[in-house]
Symmetry: C2
């Protein structure tokens, strides 16, 4: 009945835009009780995997620009999850480290993955295939 529609709905970029937004919304009910937003949750995950990290390194890992990561880290500091310290070896750098309060999030934060996985009803294999496809997508050939 909507046979004449052939524009936005057929665009890969629109599907991607929608799926990413839906995924963030799916996380919200689990993250809100912890006092985290979705991008903040990604930052905490990255820090759990090896803090301290410089602001620049953290941003690069998450593919976030300096104008995004700086205020995000400051909010995490304000919430008491991380500390920000000038690197004594290079005073240009700011090292971000987890506080005990930040580390205490680990169990709950890691548990969220499983809850999302079941909500998506994807097999481990399907999820992994999709992840790999997305990682390759829209990446300039040089990288």
């Amino acid at each position: 009945m909507t046979s004449e529609r052939h524009t936005v709905g057929t665009q890969l970029s629109f599907a991607l835009y929608g799926a990413a937004n839906r995924m963030a919304r799916l996380h919200k009910p689990f993250l809100e009780p912890l006092g985290l937003t979705f991008p903040q949750y990604l930052a905490i995950l990255e820090l759990l995997d090896g803090a301290p990290l410089s602001v620049g390194t953290l941003g690069a890992r998450l593919d976030m620009d300096t104008g995004t990561i700086t205020p995000l880290v400051k909010r995490l500091e304000g919430a008491g999850f991380v500390t920000r310290t000038r690197d004594p070896a290079d005073e240009r750098r700011v090292l971000v480290d987890l506080t005990p309060r930040g580390r205490a999030l680990e169990a709950e934060v890691r548990g969220i993955t499983d809850k999302i996985k079941s909500a998506c009803q994807l097999t481990d294999q399907g999820m992994d295939d999709l992840r790999r496809t997305l990682e390759a997508l829209a990446h300039p050939a040089s990288e």
Copy 2:
């Protein structure tokens, strides 16, 4: 060498977040000369497929909330691409229609799809499969 990293990089949600951001960045050089942002480009595409639409209908098609779509449409109006008119049949509604200046974007806007397609180096088949996978993803079962 980074064999111990196993957190953010392995998350489907992170891959999705990154791919959507990269896709929007990929569009930017084509959209900037037209004076459009990526979400505005999606709105124009939807309107080209059948204007006028009410603010609510347009938002629903794009899966954008009222707090997002209202200011977006007002900016499109300010740029002279659309008009906003109260629906005489129901004064609660605001109908969004393309101006001649808005319709004049059609050729260039539709051409962007092909440019993105070649930048992504995906076959039509691969693109379509991915699109279908994403459309199903993170959609509650009821829909």
